[in-house]
């Protein structure tokens, strides 16, 4: 890989399965040493993109290079330089943790000494040494994920592809796995990470590519994307929830979009354009309308707001439907 060439460069990827256009002109770039989050709802085309980039699937059109190798013409070279942790924790339940890693190391054609050393290191690094002699059928979901991640690192890949690495994990295991991935990132790992969790992309990715219906609908850093949907969000908690309609009317002029009610917290969320947040004006108007305010928060938009603004899909439940955030 030359110094200037991106770790992953995909151009105009198309893929159709029967009547479904899974990818409709997807391009993305992952510069070496960065983590790019591929963000989108279920069925957006994330896994299809991953499968093409890891040589598991050939694109109908378009081309992609990973670590400088073409995914179609140089598939063997790509497989030798890319590490994949797929949507499932792909570990053999009847083998022990150590046997699983040793099998993958053998299939990477490492000699016995290297194999032993690397398996030992990875077990230590992922806190699996104590459980290494147990069959993975006895592991927790989080442990299986860690082992799967360890397996994807056996070949010391130049590029790591993580397809929804925390799908199906409980919140505590998810946080723990984030810390693990974070430490890989801090050591300079180049990675493409797909996720439908906005917070995950925000935590781990330098750049984000938002994909929906097989098309890229936005790219940028988390901050750029947040800036794209603009300004601030003011969250108001009214003393009397029945006042919501009056409050919406009172604030309509200040808002850059329509105020919405967060279904979980019952708070009114008002998008405010540009620079300084007009907190005083909000309070004045509410007071002028004779409405009592219990709480008021000014915040920057979260990726949740970005996602809701960008994806227009209404035909199915979205993984994240709150408009609120805690940051």
């Amino acid at each position: 890989m030359s110094g200037s060439e991106p770790a992953i460069q995909a151009e105009g990827l198309h893929k159709r399965f029967g009547a479904v256009q899974a990818l409709d002109d997807v391009s993305l770039t992952v510069p070496a040493g960065t983590v790019v989050g591929l963000l989108g709802p279920n069925g957006a085309g994330k896994t299809t993109t991953v499968r093409i980039l890891t040589t598991l699937l050939a694109p109908d059109a378009g081309r992609a290079r990973v670590a400088g190798f073409d995914v179609v013409d140089q598939a063997a070279e790509v497989r030798a330089t890319v590490g994949l942790a797929g949507q499932h924790a792909a570990v053999d339940p009847l083998l022990t943790g150590r046997e699983n890693l040793d099998l993958i190391a053998t299939l990477h054609h490492l000699d016995r000494a290297t194999r032993r050393r690397r398996v030992h290191e990875l077990l230590e690094r992922f806190d699996l040494t104590a459980a290494a002699g147990r069959r993975t059928s006895t592991y927790s979901g989080g442990m299986r994920r860690r082992l799967d991640l360890a397996a994807s690192l056996i070949g010391q890949p130049k590029v790591l592809v993580l397809d929804e690495p925390t799908a199906g994990l409980d919140p505590a295991s998810r946080k723990a796995l984030w810390a693990t991935i974070r430490s890989l990132v801090d050591q300079g790992t180049t990675a493409l990470l797909t996720t439908q969790y906005l917070e995950e992309a925000d935590q781990l990715a330098d750049d984000i590519v938002v994909i929906d219906h097989g098309q890229v609908i936005a790219t940028g850093t988390p901050d750029q994307l947040k800036a794209q949907v603009g300004g601030h969000r003011i969250e108001v908690e009214l003393a009397h929830p029945a006042d919501t309609t009056s409050a919406v009317q009172a604030l309509e002029e200040l808002a850059s979009g329509s105020p919405a009610v967060d279904p979980h917290t019952g708070r009114l969320v008002i998008p405010i354009p540009g620079g300084a947040a007009p907190t005083a004006a909000v309070l004045r108007r509410l007071a002028g309308a004779g409405l009592d305010v219990a709480d008021l928060v000014v915040r920057r938009p979260t990726l949740d707001d970005v996602f809701l603004t960008l994806t227009t899909r209404t035909d199915q439940a979205r993984p994240v439907t709150t408009v609120g955030g805690t940051r």
Partner: protein, 259 residues
């Protein structure tokens, strides 16, 4: 990479995959126990149930029957290959293996080799049980070895067929039943249980061209003695032809495997 280095890697990958699948048999002893129990039942049950009804002049019925039930036992075991691969497909293991720089054919080669080893164990157990109730080889040690190798070879080819079915269906249960479908009618319309000349005319004509008849006849010749060259040649021709179709189809299917 040079051709010899590639071949070397391919062999190492195949051995690694064989070992993985043999571990499964060791770690789930029930899998092997069921297969062994089933084969013991085959030997004892078929021998005593059919013995009185079927006339095999000049030959002990257990000696006559053994080739057929060896074949039946490996045939009934062959869906395992497809079931295991369908499971690997749904659990994401195949994606993991396909994303590695390993020799691609090694996954199927290792899986089918492990199943061939399993079949060898089953065949030896059946011959042991058979020996207890009077089974004997009559044509010398080399013919005996060939008589053992032939059903194992049949099981190997059927494993590739099951692999194709398992990868094509992608569902363990469907793979289990679907890969047995063609085997059952083929086995029962052959010389497996009864001499072909006791069948009605049209069935006799079919049984004469049924590959399983040729294979069972070959194994019978290797056990009982008599002319072996022609039946063994015919059996090997059939096996080679089936392998030449099944193996490339299964490999192709694996190459494009998707969930």
């Amino acid at each position: 990479m040079s051709a010899t280095a590639r071949l070397d890697d391919g062999l190492r990958d195949t051995i690694a995959m064989t070992r993985r699948n043999l571990y499964h048999y060791l770690r789930l002893p029930a899998l092997l126990a069921v297969a062994v129990t089933q084969s013991i039942l085959f030997v004892v049950m078929f021998t005593y149930v059919f013995k009185g009804a079927i006339h095999t002049p000049g030959v002990h019925y257990v000696d006559y029957l053994m080739p057929g039930i060896l074949l039946l036992a490996v045939a009934f075991g062959s869906p395992n290959t497809g079931v295991g691969l369908a499971e690997d497909l749904t659990t994401g293991m195949l994606d993991r293996f396909r994303s590695l720089p390993m020799a691609r054919p090694a996954l199927l080669a290792g899986r089918t080799l492990a199943d061939a080893i399993r079949n060898l164990v089953v065949v030896l157990v059946m011959l042991g049980v058979g020996a207890l109730i009077g089974f004997r080889f009559h044509a010398g040690p080399f013919a005996a070895l060939a008589a053992i190798a032939l059903p194992v070879a049949v099981g190997y080819v059927l494993s590739w067929f099951a692999a194709l079915v398992g990868l094509a269906t992608g569902d363990a249960e469907t793979a289990g039943t679907a890969s047995l479908l063609p085997v059952i009618p083929l086995a029962f319309t052959s010389s497996t249980f009864v001499p072909v000349d006791t069948m009605p005319g049209p069935l006799q004509a079919w049984a004469d061209i049924n590959p399983i008849t040729h294979i069972v006849d070959a194994d019978r010749a290797l056990i009982l003695g008599g002319p072996t060259a022609t039946p063994v040649f015919q059996a090997l021709a059939w096996l080679t032809a089936l392998a030449a179709v099944m193996i490339p189809l299964a490999l192709r299917r694996y190459h494009h495997a998707t969930q």
